[in-house]
Symmetry: C2
Subunit: 110 residues, 2 copies
DNA sequence: TTATCATATGAGCAAATGATCATATGTTAA
DNA sequence: TTAACATATGATCATTTGCTCATATGATAA
């Protein structure tokens, strides 16, 4: 046998681990938070809903870039949108977004 | 002038935004959570501290891969380590890790 | 209808990322 | 000291990611 024995610990820990599929989903969710542009978009929406071009102006990035990132945020169900004439307004989907970001802020401010 | 006017909203939102540097730090933190291998490592450490080779065995990944990822987790201050003889034990650094992961789990289980 | 504004999206590219392999470092026992 | 084990790390490579450009779609007004 190679290395020392961990079988007892491994069994114990293994029995408490969620399915790999779940953990992959979780990682995917956090990956969405893991980009400066997207974090800045989310933070902007803390304050109020905004249309795409306002977000682009605010962050000094292309409309295209914002639109691409909003697509990701939508798929992760972190933001919702409503159309009003030509413009589309985006808003935070729910309060998990705030909670998660707040926890993150607490961690880095130490 | 191009597009419609947002100056009032932009000023309002802008005044509430943290520094770009802070937001970048935040994104970097979440990026660490944004990988399946690292999430699985963190989850394993929920249960108890573990040495590198035990983690590698548990997750069926190379010792090298685990070691590289642990380095990232250490730099993000998500895990700590202690040496005991030849083996190094890793453990969760604090409870923010649990809170953040739990919030994430809540979001995806809906 | 056409023109214009607002947003979405596909293609292409440069940069970042995660795994592997080989090797280095650190620790203990013989 | 040497041998064996445990961990760390540098180099390399394939994949992923985020941006830009060009263009498509959607909506309104003239």
């Amino acid at each position: 046998m190679k290395g020392h024995d961990h079988s007892r610990l491994l069994n114990e820990v293994n029995s408490q681990m969620p399915k790999d599929e779940t953990l992959a989903e979780l990682a995917e969710l956090f990956a969405v938070f893991g980009d400066t542009t997207r974090i800045r978009i989310l933070w902007a929406l803390f304050e109020s809903e905004m249309c795409v071009c306002a977000i682009a102006e605010l962050l000094h990035v292309t409309q295209s870039a914002v639109s691409h990132q909003l697509k990701l945020l939508r798929h992760a169900k972190l933001v919702g949108s409503r159309r009003q004439g030509k413009t589309v307004f985006y808003f935070l989907a729910d309060d998990h977004v705030r909670s998660i970001i707040n926890q993150g802020m607490e961690h880095i401010s130490e």
